[in-house]
Symmetry: C2
Subunit: 125 residues, 2 copies
Amino acid sequence: MADSPRVLNLADLHSKFDAPWSPKRIGRVDNYEVKLAKGEGSFAWHAHQDEDELFFITSGILRIDFEDRDSVRLHLGEMTIIPKGVRHQPVVEEGPVHILLFEKAGVVNTGDAEAGDLTQSIEDI
Amino acid sequence: MADSPRVLNLADLHSKFDAPWSPKRIGRVDNYEVKLAKGEGSFAWHAHQDEDELFFITSGILRIDFEDRDSVRLHLGEMTIIPKGVRHQPVVEEGPVHILLFEKAGVVNTGDAEAGDLTQSIEDI
């Protein structure tokens, strides 16, 4: 009998890692990836020039700041989609922040910002 | 000042419609769509030959049956990804079932099943 698709329990999967801003891949939809991340403090200012990026929050409050528009605040059960090319900075307002990301495979987490400590390769969990 | 990205509160958006198995589009990530649906009873057996399909549950219990593998059961906070080409049937085990779907734009909800009452075009909410 073929393997059944995996059931992905977000809370269980979020409990398997601690490092902030270090996305873990939990699945793929065609050439798009579903990733989990935790937030702490603020992330780098960056943009993804060619890809939209979905943020969905399952714990805490995440603020996303923009250079040219008002910030958005995401609480548990809320998502937003950052359009390609829009420079943004995620900032934890109330932790622990648990994030689900959905974006094209191969997107670098720090986008067009200079690679640094926050730039992370993606691991599967 | 440019418009900020929309904050999508899944519970609020789910409260805006009642019809079961009639997906509503709430956003796009590149050429992929984020849709909400409600479930009631069982949906048609079908497959999407060329696209994977992500189901995420925010209320109730949804069972997904397969012809050639064990069923999966999805509770609040759980998702699964149905691989392209795999025939499946979503069945409500405990309602109300609220579903978030993520799949390529243009996918028909009943896949390769004969079009019928369950075949719905997608509206934005």
